[in-house]
Amino acid sequence: MTETIQNLNQIFSASDKIVAREIEGELIIVPLVSGIGDMEDELFTLNDTGKEIWKRLDGKKNLKTIIGELTAEFDATEEEIEKDVLGLMQELQKRQMVAEVSAA
Protein backbone atom coordinates (compact mmCIF):
# COMPACT_ATOMS: atom_id res chain seq x y z
CA MET A 1 0.00 0.00 0.00
CA THR A 2 1.45 3.37 -0.96
CA GLU A 3 1.40 6.10 1.65
CA THR A 4 1.09 9.75 0.75
CA ILE A 5 4.51 11.40 0.82
CA GLN A 6 4.45 14.05 3.51
CA ASN A 7 7.95 14.05 4.88
CA LEU A 8 10.33 16.20 2.83
CA ASN A 9 13.26 14.63 4.61
CA GLN A 10 12.65 11.37 2.78
CA ILE A 11 15.41 10.23 0.45
CA PHE A 12 14.69 8.15 -2.62
CA SER A 13 16.64 6.44 -5.35
CA ALA A 14 15.68 4.54 -8.47
CA SER A 15 14.31 1.10 -7.72
CA ASP A 16 16.36 -1.92 -8.78
CA LYS A 17 13.21 -3.21 -10.43
CA ILE A 18 13.48 -0.74 -13.30
CA VAL A 19 15.88 0.25 -16.04
CA ALA A 20 16.03 3.94 -16.94
CA ARG A 21 17.89 5.46 -19.89
CA GLU A 22 17.80 8.76 -21.68
CA ILE A 23 16.90 8.27 -25.33
CA GLU A 24 16.53 11.15 -27.77
CA GLY A 25 16.08 13.60 -24.93
CA GLU A 26 13.41 11.61 -23.14
CA LEU A 27 13.85 9.51 -20.05
CA ILE A 28 12.66 6.00 -20.78
CA ILE A 29 11.75 3.81 -17.82
CA VAL A 30 11.32 0.09 -18.38
CA PRO A 31 9.97 -1.74 -15.33
CA LEU A 32 11.05 -5.31 -14.71
CA VAL A 33 7.76 -7.11 -14.21
CA SER A 34 8.08 -10.79 -13.36
CA GLY A 35 11.61 -10.70 -14.68
CA ILE A 36 10.61 -9.21 -18.03
CA GLY A 37 11.84 -5.85 -19.26
CA ASP A 38 8.97 -5.14 -21.59
CA MET A 39 9.50 -2.50 -24.27
CA GLU A 40 6.29 -3.42 -26.00
CA ASP A 41 3.59 -3.04 -23.38
CA GLU A 42 5.24 -1.58 -20.28
CA LEU A 43 7.17 1.54 -21.11
CA PHE A 44 7.10 4.90 -19.37
CA THR A 45 8.55 8.27 -20.22
CA LEU A 46 9.27 11.44 -18.32
CA ASN A 47 9.60 14.77 -20.06
CA ASP A 48 12.36 17.34 -19.46
CA THR A 49 11.21 18.56 -16.09
CA GLY A 50 10.39 15.08 -14.84
CA LYS A 51 13.88 14.14 -15.94
CA GLU A 52 15.34 16.94 -13.80
CA ILE A 53 13.65 15.52 -10.74
CA TRP A 54 14.63 11.95 -11.62
CA LYS A 55 18.30 12.90 -12.02
CA ARG A 56 18.35 14.16 -8.45
CA LEU A 57 17.01 10.94 -6.95
CA ASP A 58 20.52 9.76 -6.19
CA GLY A 59 19.90 8.21 -2.81
CA LYS A 60 21.64 11.11 -1.05
CA LYS A 61 19.45 14.18 -1.45
CA ASN A 62 16.21 14.44 0.45
CA LEU A 63 13.10 15.89 -1.18
CA LYS A 64 13.59 19.24 0.53
CA THR A 65 17.03 19.61 -1.01
CA ILE A 66 15.73 18.63 -4.43
CA ILE A 67 12.94 21.19 -4.20
CA GLY A 68 15.44 23.84 -3.16
CA GLU A 69 17.72 23.07 -6.10
CA LEU A 70 14.85 23.18 -8.57
CA THR A 71 13.56 26.44 -7.11
CA ALA A 72 16.97 28.00 -7.66
CA GLU A 73 17.22 26.66 -11.18
CA PHE A 74 13.74 27.12 -12.57
CA ASP A 75 11.30 29.95 -12.96
CA ALA A 76 8.58 28.82 -10.52
CA THR A 77 7.66 29.29 -6.88
CA GLU A 78 8.78 26.85 -4.25
CA GLU A 79 5.16 25.93 -3.56
CA GLU A 80 4.54 25.04 -7.21
CA ILE A 81 7.69 22.97 -7.39
CA GLU A 82 6.99 21.22 -4.11
CA LYS A 83 3.51 20.28 -5.29
CA ASP A 84 4.82 18.86 -8.55
CA VAL A 85 7.74 17.03 -7.00
CA LEU A 86 5.47 15.39 -4.45
CA GLY A 87 2.98 14.55 -7.18
CA LEU A 88 5.65 12.87 -9.29
CA MET A 89 7.09 11.03 -6.31
CA GLN A 90 3.61 9.75 -5.48
CA GLU A 91 3.31 8.31 -9.00
CA LEU A 92 6.78 6.84 -9.00
CA GLN A 93 6.26 5.23 -5.63
CA LYS A 94 2.88 3.82 -6.65
CA ARG A 95 4.55 2.14 -9.63
CA GLN A 96 7.45 0.94 -7.49
CA MET A 97 9.92 2.85 -9.64
CA VAL A 98 11.64 4.40 -6.64
CA ALA A 99 12.75 3.04 -3.31
CA GLU A 100 13.08 4.97 -0.09
CA VAL A 101 16.65 5.01 1.13
CA SER A 102 16.04 6.53 4.55
CA ALA A 103 13.77 8.94 6.34
CA ALA A 104 16.47 11.01 8.01
Binding site: I36, T49, G50, E73, F74, D75, K83, L88
Partner: protein
Protein backbone atom coordinates in the same frame (compact mmCIF):
# COMPACT_ATOMS: atom_id res chain seq x y z
CA UNK B 1 15.76 30.75 -16.06
CA UNK B 2 14.12 27.75 -17.68
CA UNK B 3 10.40 27.51 -17.16
CA UNK B 4 9.17 24.83 -14.77
CA UNK B 5 6.32 23.12 -16.47
CA UNK B 6 2.95 23.04 -14.65
CA UNK B 7 1.48 20.07 -12.85
CA UNK B 8 0.50 18.16 -15.94
CA UNK B 9 4.11 17.41 -16.74
CA UNK B 10 4.44 15.10 -13.79
CA UNK B 11 2.14 12.61 -15.43
CA UNK B 12 4.13 9.56 -16.26
CA UNK B 13 3.28 8.65 -19.77
CA UNK B 14 2.79 5.08 -20.72
CA UNK B 15 3.14 4.99 -24.41
CA UNK B 16 4.32 3.01 -27.35
CA UNK B 17 7.70 4.60 -27.78
CA UNK B 18 9.13 3.70 -31.13
CA UNK B 19 12.79 3.07 -30.53
CA UNK B 20 14.43 2.01 -33.78
CA UNK B 21 15.07 -1.71 -33.79
CA UNK B 22 18.69 -1.41 -34.82
CA UNK B 23 19.57 1.52 -32.60
CA UNK B 24 22.41 1.54 -30.07
CA UNK B 25 19.88 2.73 -27.50
CA UNK B 26 17.86 -0.46 -27.85
CA UNK B 27 21.04 -2.48 -27.44
CA UNK B 28 21.86 -0.52 -24.30
CA UNK B 29 18.38 -1.05 -22.86
CA UNK B 30 18.56 -4.77 -23.57
CA UNK B 31 21.94 -5.09 -21.90
CA UNK B 32 20.72 -3.08 -18.90
CA UNK B 33 17.67 -5.33 -18.48
CA UNK B 34 19.82 -8.44 -18.82
CA UNK B 35 22.24 -6.96 -16.31
CA UNK B 36 19.43 -6.96 -13.77
CA UNK B 37 18.67 -10.59 -14.49
CA UNK B 38 15.61 -9.98 -16.62
CA UNK B 39 14.61 -11.01 -20.14
CA UNK B 40 13.93 -8.38 -22.78
CA UNK B 41 10.72 -8.14 -24.78
CA UNK B 42 10.40 -5.89 -27.82
CA UNK B 43 8.94 -5.61 -31.28
CA UNK B 44 11.20 -6.60 -34.12
CA UNK B 45 11.00 -5.26 -37.61
CA UNK B 46 12.37 -6.45 -40.90
CA UNK B 47 11.95 -9.39 -43.21
CA UNK B 48 15.25 -11.19 -42.98
CA UNK B 49 13.86 -13.99 -40.82
CA UNK B 50 10.59 -14.56 -42.67
CA UNK B 51 8.57 -16.73 -42.58
CA UNK B 52 9.54 -17.85 -39.08
CA UNK B 53 9.84 -14.37 -37.61
CA UNK B 54 7.83 -11.70 -39.37
CA UNK B 55 7.91 -7.94 -39.33
CA UNK B 56 6.10 -6.76 -36.20
CA UNK B 57 6.51 -9.96 -34.21
CA UNK B 58 7.26 -9.44 -30.52
CA UNK B 59 10.41 -11.21 -29.41
CA UNK B 60 11.65 -12.11 -25.95
CA UNK B 61 15.41 -12.36 -25.60
CA UNK B 62 17.02 -14.26 -22.73
CA UNK B 63 20.17 -12.95 -21.10
CA UNK B 64 23.52 -13.92 -22.65
CA UNK B 65 24.82 -17.43 -22.25
CA UNK B 66 28.24 -19.05 -22.48
CA UNK B 67 27.06 -21.41 -25.17
CA UNK B 68 24.62 -21.49 -28.03
CA UNK B 69 23.52 -24.23 -30.39
CA UNK B 70 23.06 -24.47 -34.11
CA UNK B 71 19.51 -23.58 -34.99
CA UNK B 72 18.97 -21.12 -32.19
CA UNK B 73 17.86 -17.62 -33.12
CA UNK B 74 19.98 -15.01 -31.40
CA UNK B 75 20.21 -11.25 -31.01
CA UNK B 76 23.69 -9.99 -31.76
CA UNK B 77 25.63 -6.87 -32.61
CA UNK B 78 27.23 -6.78 -36.04
CA UNK B 79 30.90 -6.07 -35.33
CA UNK B 80 31.43 -3.40 -37.96
CA UNK B 81 28.12 -1.61 -37.80
CA UNK B 82 27.22 -1.81 -34.09
CA UNK B 83 23.63 -2.60 -35.03
CA UNK B 84 21.27 -5.10 -33.44
CA UNK B 85 20.34 -8.05 -35.60
CA UNK B 86 18.23 -11.14 -34.86
CA UNK B 87 19.24 -14.11 -37.02
CA UNK B 88 19.86 -17.83 -36.78
CA UNK B 89 23.03 -19.75 -35.89
CA UNK B 90 23.83 -22.01 -38.83
CA UNK B 91 27.36 -23.04 -37.89
CA UNK B 92 29.79 -23.05 -35.03
CA UNK B 93 33.57 -23.02 -34.75
CA UNK B 94 35.23 -22.75 -31.35
CA UNK B 95 33.86 -19.54 -29.86
CA UNK B 96 32.53 -18.07 -33.09
CA UNK B 97 29.15 -18.62 -34.62
CA UNK B 98 28.17 -18.52 -38.26
CA UNK B 99 24.91 -16.62 -38.38
CA UNK B 100 22.43 -16.00 -41.18
CA UNK B 101 18.95 -14.65 -41.69
CA UNK B 102 16.51 -17.34 -42.87
CA UNK B 103 15.36 -15.02 -45.65
CA UNK B 104 18.79 -13.62 -46.46
CA UNK B 105 21.06 -14.79 -49.22
CA UNK B 106 24.21 -13.59 -47.47
CA UNK B 107 25.60 -14.89 -44.21
CA UNK B 108 26.40 -12.44 -41.42
CA UNK B 109 29.82 -13.96 -40.93
CA UNK B 110 31.51 -15.56 -37.94
CA UNK B 111 30.29 -13.68 -34.92
CA UNK B 112 32.26 -13.84 -31.64
CA UNK B 113 30.45 -15.10 -28.56
CA UNK B 114 30.80 -11.72 -26.87
CA UNK B 115 28.77 -10.08 -29.61
CA UNK B 116 25.76 -12.28 -28.95
CA UNK B 117 23.30 -10.59 -26.59
CA UNK B 118 21.00 -13.54 -25.99
CA UNK B 119 18.75 -16.03 -27.70
CA UNK B 120 15.12 -15.71 -28.69
CA UNK B 121 12.99 -17.68 -26.25
CA UNK B 122 9.57 -16.52 -27.35
CA UNK B 123 7.95 -15.21 -30.51
CA UNK B 124 4.51 -13.59 -30.37
CA UNK B 125 2.38 -12.68 -33.34
CA UNK B 126 -1.00 -11.00 -32.92
CA UNK B 127 -0.78 -11.76 -29.20
CA UNK B 128 -0.29 -15.48 -29.80
CA UNK B 129 2.80 -17.57 -29.31
CA UNK B 130 4.53 -18.83 -32.42
CA UNK B 131 6.66 -21.92 -32.05
CA UNK B 132 7.70 -22.59 -35.63
CA UNK B 133 11.33 -21.76 -36.17
CA UNK B 134 12.52 -21.73 -32.58
CA UNK B 135 11.32 -25.12 -31.40
CA UNK B 136 11.82 -28.58 -32.84
CA UNK B 137 13.18 -28.51 -36.33
CA UNK B 138 15.34 -25.46 -35.85
CA UNK B 139 18.43 -27.54 -36.57
CA UNK B 140 16.95 -28.60 -39.89
CA UNK B 141 16.08 -25.03 -40.72
CA UNK B 142 19.68 -24.03 -39.99
CA UNK B 143 20.93 -26.78 -42.30
CA UNK B 144 18.74 -25.71 -45.20
CA UNK B 145 19.57 -22.08 -44.60
CA UNK B 146 23.31 -22.71 -44.59
CA UNK B 147 23.04 -24.70 -47.80
CA UNK B 148 21.43 -21.70 -49.42
CA UNK B 149 18.11 -23.43 -49.89
CA UNK B 150 16.35 -20.63 -48.03
CA UNK B 151 14.71 -18.34 -49.15
CA UNK B 152 14.30 -20.02 -52.55
CA UNK B 153 12.75 -23.14 -50.98
CA UNK B 154 9.79 -21.00 -49.97
CA UNK B 155 9.37 -19.40 -53.37
CA UNK B 156 7.29 -22.16 -54.98
CA UNK B 157 4.99 -22.78 -51.97
CA UNK B 158 4.43 -19.02 -51.61
CA UNK B 159 3.54 -18.70 -55.27
CA UNK B 160 1.13 -21.64 -55.00
CA UNK B 161 -0.45 -20.11 -51.91
CA UNK B 162 -0.80 -16.77 -53.69
CA UNK B 163 -2.56 -18.38 -56.65
CA UNK B 164 -4.85 -20.38 -54.32
CA UNK B 165 -5.80 -17.21 -52.47
CA UNK B 166 -6.68 -15.53 -55.74
CA UNK B 167 -8.93 -18.46 -56.65
CA UNK B 168 -10.60 -18.34 -53.23
CA UNK B 169 -11.20 -14.60 -53.53
CA UNK B 170 -12.65 -14.92 -57.03
CA UNK B 171 -14.72 -17.93 -55.99
Amino acid sequence: MPKFLPHSFVDINQEKKEIPFCSPQLIELMQAVHGKGGVFRFKANGFSMAPFIKDGDVLTIAKPSNSYHIGEVVAFVRPCFKKLVVHRIVGKKKDKFLIKGDNSHEKDGNIPLNNILGKVIRVERNKRDVFAGIGLGRGLIAFFSRCGMFPSIFFLPCQILRVLRLFVKKG
